[in-house]
């Protein structure tokens, strides 16, 4: 078997699903959501009273708030049939050696190479709804960088945690942020002290592994003045027959002069509803970048946003969505310019194939008095066949005259001339289409750390398999 074929086979295996025995969970909550479930979660986690109050208030908001009446249909989502909390092992592991074997096996199947682990500045692996493995390289600790599971963050740094938690995305923000605020579990807590540059990406792998497990991860990242960090999140999931649900909340605070980047490779199995709220608050002369690749899931609704709070703040979004058969990728970005001389840039690329549907939905908002704002939005869609669909919903609200706003949108097809040209060099039709598609997303892929870029290209090649009917 050729090397590529083997790689594809390996990935194919994970595409088509595998799962460990699911009978060694320490605790499994009831299906469905109630005040008792929320209280139980908080008790299990031995949380302070303020967090329980926070959760219960969020629950109330969630229950009173109607479902969104825009975007993709969520009617098939059965909220009563979801486990809102699952705990795989009693406590977080300290080192790789302590990680249980079956969990390691899962990571092996995901193809995380041995060598890469050495490069990991710290691995937060979310397996089910809890951090099971967490390690921080010594030099990070020496720099005073905190990289913990969100639960440990709350326990070990209660004041820091409370100062920022829920300040970027309050529970009232939207229905699913409220749900997450009520039942959140797992995720990362990151603090980078003033002027500390974290030179290796902080990475977290996580995946779902039980039918109907709700994943409500919650991540809080604080980048103090003049500091910089790159956080990478990649997720994969095996396939199941019943719908799964993932609804995360990611809050990031980027203080004066700091830089941060948050990269995601989302590859949930195609039965997962992925409704995520991600937002960064960016202060004076600081910058935040979202790099977001959505390949999997049944329905994704995701619009990472930047609140540009003070002059000189910069927000950027670079996103890619791949919608295959039965998939809806409703993704985009929101940039809110609250202060003068703030800049934003949104680059969105989507690929629709075999009836898949990809939409760009975005917002650029400039408030009165925010003079000298610059914003540019570019949306490129690639349609691989006439059955597929691409839509663009670019909302722009400007309450100030002194601004520079650009918007471009294009829809293209893989041209016959491109295919003929590539095939005349000996590439099969499938290889030719794959090459055009990988070229299309190259501007995003080259921003990813190398191992992710490789994984990304393999995933795309896999998605393109059997394109030629």
């Amino acid at each position: 078997m050729s090397e590529d074929a083997k790689i594809l086979e390996d990935i194919g295996e994970y595409k088509y699903g595998f799962h460990d025995r699911d009978d060694n969970y320490v605790f499994k909550s009831e299906r469905g959501l109630s005040r008792a479930v929320v209280e139980n979660i908080s008790r299990m986690k031995k949380e302070p009273q303020w967090m329980l109050d926070f959760r219960l208030k969020a629950l109330e908001h969630y229950q009173n708030r109607p479902m969104p009446n825009w975007g993709p249909s969520l009617q098939e989502l059965d909220f009563e049939n979801i486990y809102y909390y699952v705990k795989p092992t009693e406590k977080s592991e300290k080192s790789w050696d302590d990680v249980p074997d079956d969990i390691k096996k899962t990571f092996d199947k995901l193809g995380i190479p041995e060598a890469e682990r050495k490069f990991l500045a710290g691995v937060g692996a979310q397996y089910e709804s809890e951090m099971v493995y967490h390690s921080i390289q010594e030099h990070l600790e020496k720099q005073g960088v905190i990289f913990l599971s969100i639960e440990d963050g709350l326990k070990q740094y209660p004041d820091l945690f409370r100062e920022y938690f829920g300040t970027v995305i309050p529970p009232e923000d939207n229905k699913f942020a409220a749900l997450n605020s009520a039942v959140w579990s797992g995720g990362s807590f990151v603090y980078v002290p003033k002027n500390v540059k974290v030179d290796l990406p902080l990475q977290a792998y996580f995946r779902l592994n039980t039918a109907n497990v709700g994943q409500f991860e919650r991540t809080l990242i604080i980048v103090d003045e003049g500091a910089s960090v790159h956080y990478v999140e990649g997720c994969t999931a095996p396939q199941y027959t019943t719908d799964s649900f993932h609804s995360g909340v990611i809050e990031i605070i980027v203080k004066k002069g700091a830089r941060s980047r948050y990269s995601t490779i989302q590859n949930w199995s195609t039965n997962v509803y992925n409704l995520v709220t991600q937002r960064a608050k960016v202060f004076a002369n600081a910058s935040h970048e979202w790099v977001d690749a959505n390949i999997g899931s049944k329905v994704t609704m995701k619009y990472p946003s930047c609140y540009l709070m003070e002059p000189g703040a910069r927000g950027e979004m670079l996103s890619m969505a791949f919608a295959g058969p039965g998939q809806t990728q409703d993704a985009g970005s929101k940039m809110y310019h609250f202060a003068p001389n703030t800049t934003s840039k949104i680059t969105s690329k989507s690929i629709s194939k075999s009836g898949g549907r990809a939409s760009y939905r975005g917002m650029v908002k400039v408030y009165k008095g925010a003079k000298g704002v610059k914003s540019n939005v570019v949306c490129d869609a690639l349609l691989l066949d006439p059955k597929s669909r691409s839509d663009t919903y670019p909302y722009i609200e400007i309450d100030e005259d002194d601004v520079t706003i650009g918007h471009e949108a294009s829809v293209s097809k893989v041209g016959d001339e491109q295919l003929f040209y590539l095939m005349s060099r000996g590439l099969s039709e499938e290889a030719a289409i794959t090459m055009v598609v990988s070229g299309f997303i190259e501007p995003l892929v080259k921003e990813l750390p190398m191992e992710y870029a490789v994984e990304m290209n393999r995933l795309i090649a896999l998605q393109m398999e059997g394109s030629i009917g």
């Binding site: 016959d416 040209y421 060099r425 000996g426 090459m435 190259e442």
Partner: protein, 257 residues
């Protein structure tokens, strides 16, 4: 013998007949020039030889290496040893010249042997560097996106670079001289001359004689209204340079009418 043999070839696009019975044989090791006024079907012949899906062969044969290629896809024809240097190479944004060439080389190797692991990267780098030096190309060219924002001269050089690295047995150069200044023309022609030899048959399609000052053809053919009407040696091209195409038109007007 890797001989390209075209017999009584009729080709239509959108129901309109463009080639009306072309006969031509390009032997390995020989350089043939195909000349003619614009719109007589020269590029149609080039595209048809490599199997462009819009060009429908209604009659006749194309044989290469003693087999018909009419039922073969463009990639199969390429892997059999046919090559077309495009008049208008297509941009593939996001795909570097190096990545593209490596994929093309490996596609060919794997077609021969499914177990092939692909050309080792050091070997590929060496090959690419050598060919780029030959074509006087800057090394950073390999990292640019294929034909994306290339000048006319860069595009043509990139075509010859592909010719050099893919090592076909018959190469069709479609108006490779168009849009080139004299220096670029010389570099491209030198490249072709360096590659020409007993292993390679070449069909140079050109409107003007000037390319043939640099690439010396063994045979020259004139195409008019979908047929080859005159064949001769290099002298024929010089005659065309001096007298233009009018005499050909006059001579064959009655036949084509």
């Amino acid at each position: 013998m890797s001989q390209l043999e075209i017999k009584n070839l009729h080709v239509s696009i959108d129901g309109k007949e463009i080639l009306k019975g072309v006969d031509l044989t390009v032997e390995q090791g020989k350089i043939h020039a195909l000349m003619g006024p614009n719109g007589t079907g020269k590029s149609t012949l080039a595209y048809t030889l490599l199997g462009h899906p819009s060009y429908i062969v209604t009659q006749g044969e194309i044989n290469f290496k003693d087999q018909s290629v009419l039922e073969l896809e463009p990639d199969e024809r390429s892997r059999l040893g046919m090559f077309l240097a495009f008049q208008y190479p297509v941009a593939i944004p996001g795909v570097t010249v190096a990545n593209f060439l490596r994929t093309a080389i490996n596609s060919r190797r794997r077609a021969e042997n499914p177990e092939d692991k692909g050309m080792p990267i050091p070997e590929f780098r060496k090959l690419l560097k050598e060919k780029m030096v030959m074509l006087k190309m800057d090394q950073n060219f390999a990292g640019r996106y294929l034909n994306d924002g290339f000048s006319g001269g860069e595009k043509k050089r990139a075509e010859i670079l592909q010719l050099a690295t893919l090592k076909p047995e018959v190469a069709i150069l479609d108006e490779t001289d168009s849009g080139l200044d004299i220096d670029a023309l010389r570099v491209v022609a030198e490249g072709v001359n360096a590659l020409a030899g007993p292993e390679l048959g070449v069909l140079v399609i050109t409107h003007y004689q000037r390319l043939l000052n640099y690439i010396k053809p063994n045979y020259v053919h004139i195409m008019l209204d979908g047929r080859i009407v005159e064949s001769g040696d290099a002298e024929l091209a010089l005659h065309l340079e001096e007298h233009g195409y009018d005499w050909v038109r006059e001579k064959y007007e009655e036949v084509t009418a």
